[in-house]
């Protein structure tokens, strides 16, 4: 059967490998059954479909510069993501997309980048980080700042270690708290602390933020204090309940904007004044 033309028709994908990231998160490597590439840009998401359990929006966690296999880092949050966590390599699942406005690469080129992630937000940001690694000539400097709740919640630990070793990247992370039995000896404290350690050239610096809702205001306040003011300096990716991913179901609206198709990536000034946006 050929895939019919419909906004709502998922395309079949093969699950290639599954690996554990944390007790709640796994990394899924997938490929479209017809072998074609997903065609995404960093910051975009797909609608993951499992028959019987409808769909969930999930960010693409790797860069389009890394071939036709794409990766999803998924937290076990409920029914669909729980079922996904039980699947073994070889399984078929459906995807729609890629959807949404990606990170605005044109505006980031030539800049010193602050890539700031909290929690699951590292998944979409990893796509951009890999892109920066693969196109080093396009960016002046890349700082990665990441915050997780505890050492066990740190995502992509191997990547974090490799990014810290890399000469091109400056990678720092912190955790909110350390349980008594942990041998973690890195930073603790909230994300804005990492920011104050940096030497920035605020006139040539842009920030990209992806994280849980409580992260935005304190980080934005710190960025402003460091001199990132004016338009097109701070880009953020917002989460909403999403049912369709294509601007039709209404669940993701933020006043007159539609998070799935006008976003999920916005410039701060596009959403800052909108009620309930941040």
């Amino acid at each position: 059967m050929t895939a019919p033309a419909s906004l709502y028709a998922p395309r079949p994908c093969r699950l290639l490998t599954v690996s554990g990231l944390t007790p709640q998160e796994k990394l899924f490597r997938l490929q479209l059954v017809d072998g074609s590439s997903l065609g995404h840009q960093p910051g975009q998401f797909i609608q993951l479909s499992i028959p019987g359990l409808t769909e969930a929006p999930i960010s693409v966690a790797n860069s389009p510069t890394r071939g036709t296999v794409f990766e999803l880092a998924v937290r076990r949050a409920g029914r669909l993501t729980g079922a996904l966590h039980k699947l073994a390599p070889g399984a078929l699942i459906g995807i729609r997309g890629p959807f949404g406005r990606p990170f605005q690469l044109d505006a980031l080129r030539g800049k010193q980048l602050l890539l700031i992630a909290g929690g699951c937000g590292l998944a979409p940001l990893r796509s951009l980080i890999q892109y920066c690694q693969d196109r080093p000539e396009e960016f002046a400097a890349v700082h990665i700042l990441y915050g997780a709740r505890s050492p066990a919640d740190l995502l992509f630990k191997d990547d974090l270690a490799a990014w810290q070793r890399s000469e091109r990247l400056d990678c720092r992370y912190t955790v909110d708290r350390i349980p008594a039995d942990s041998c973690y000896d890195g930073e603790t404290g909230l994300l804005p602390r990492l920011l104050s350690q940096l030497e920035l050239d605020p006139a040539n610096c842009s920030a990209v933020l992806v994280g849980p809702p409580p992260m935005y205001r304190p980080v934005i306040a710190e960025l402003r204090r460091l001199g990132l003011s004016g338009e097109r300096r701070i880009m953020l990716s917002l989460e909403r309940q999403m049912r369709c991913g294509v601007g039709k179901c209404g669940h993701c609206s933020i006043e007159h904007l539609t998070c799935c198709s006008d976003g999920p990536v916005f410039w701060l000034e596009e959403v800052e004044a909108l009620r309930g946006a941040l």
Binding site: M1, S6, L7, Y8, T54, T81, L92, E239, V246
Partner: protein
């Protein structure tokens, strides 16, 4: 060209339509309300209270199969209806509601599920002396294929599209002065009270405790949304039968707590106050920003549906009164 339809001509027109379309016409229920139902012969009830249910449900039904999935990744789409629907007896507000949903669902990316039902549909409007108490309904523009006009001395018909012209072929012409006895002035869609409320909302002049007070009366039944011809929000559900899964969409309501709740628990519309404000703000401010037109056609259905009296009109009247009090 204006035509005159005797009773036998009107029945002949209905038959012509029914040959090519699934014809729905207004019929009177025992409680006096009117519903659009399949034509079974006989004359439709053109004059009377507004259609009880929103006519847009023909194109965007309460529950609709989107597609079928199988275990092997196969996807099958439902077939379009054998005959496209013809909706007869729509007034200017019904047509404005359809025009709004058309723009919403058909603007890129085109919603193919909506298009499947909408494609080829025929719209027959009604104007003239067709109001509930015999009052005059305003003339219709190009939003319908064909306009039926209830004039004091009989039924007239005016085509707006080539299909409309074709359907009226062979009927007797009517002199244009047949319309002279009718008020044929177009009316503004939004009544003054809603325009005023929209302005106050836009200017952020509505006090926060107004929303709290109104929201305290909402019982979150969703009736306002389900009655509204321009409400387009939907949820998605799967039902599995062996190896086959049916994926459907169904109307959803922004007045319900789960509407925006995320899996993480975060809920941008987590209080009734936020949700009530959203319902009104979305239609009167957000839609004009996005679509150039308000998302309310002032049909009054939400006011009739709301069990606690906080539909669009009632709420806007209270809103304007409250702001006047605050302002003075």
């Amino acid at each position: 060209m204006l035509k005159r339809l005797e009773e036998k001509d009107f029945l002949c027109l209905l038959e012509r339509i029914a040959e090519r379309w699934q014809l729905l016409v207004p019929q009177r229920m025992s409680d006096g309300s009117r519903l659009l139902l399949p034509w079974q012969g006989g004359l439709p009830v053109l004059a009377g209270p507004p259609l009880q249910r929103k006519p847009t449900e023909v194109f965007f039904p309460q529950l609709e199969l989107l597609l079928e999935l199988d275990d092997a990744g196969g996807v099958a789409l439902p077939n379009p209806p054998e005959k496209p629907p013809a909706l007869l007896g729509l007034d200017h507000l019904d047509l404005a509601g359809i025009a709004f949903l058309d723009r919403f669902f058909l603007s890129p990316p085109t919603d193919d599920a909506y298009l499947r039902r909408r494609r080829g549909a025929l719209l027959v409007g009604v104007s003239g002396l067709a109001g509930a108490q015999g009052e005059t309904l305003p003339p219709l523009e190009g939003e319908c294929d064909l306009e039926l006009i209830l004039a004091p001395d009989g039924l007239l018909a005016h085509p707006h599209t080539a299909r409309g012209t074709e359907l009226l072929e062979g009927f007797a012409e009517a002199a244009p002065d047949k319309l002279a006895a009718l008020d044929r002035n177009a009316t503004e869609l939004l009544p003054e009270i809603l325009l005023k409320a929209a302005r106050l909302l836009q200017e952020e002049r509505v006090p926060e405790d107004f929303w709290e007070e109104i929201a305290a009366r909402c019982i979150a039944c969703g009736g306002c949304n389900f009655a509204c011809p321009t409400c387009s929000c939907f949820g998605v559900q799967d039902r599995t039968f062996g190896k086959r899964t049916e994926r459907s969409r169904l109307w959803d309501s922004c007045q319900l707590d789960a509407f925006m709740r995320e899996a993480s628990g975060h809920n941008p519309l987590g209080t009734e106050t936020l949700r009530t404000r959203r319902r009104i703000y979305h239609k009167l401010v957000a839609d004009p920003l996005r679509w150039g037109e308000p998302g309310c056609v002032a049909c009054g259905r939400c006011d009739r549906a709301c069990p606690t009296g906080i539909g669009m009109f009632a709420l806007c009247e209270e809103l304007v009164r409250t702001c006047d009090r605050h302002g003075s």
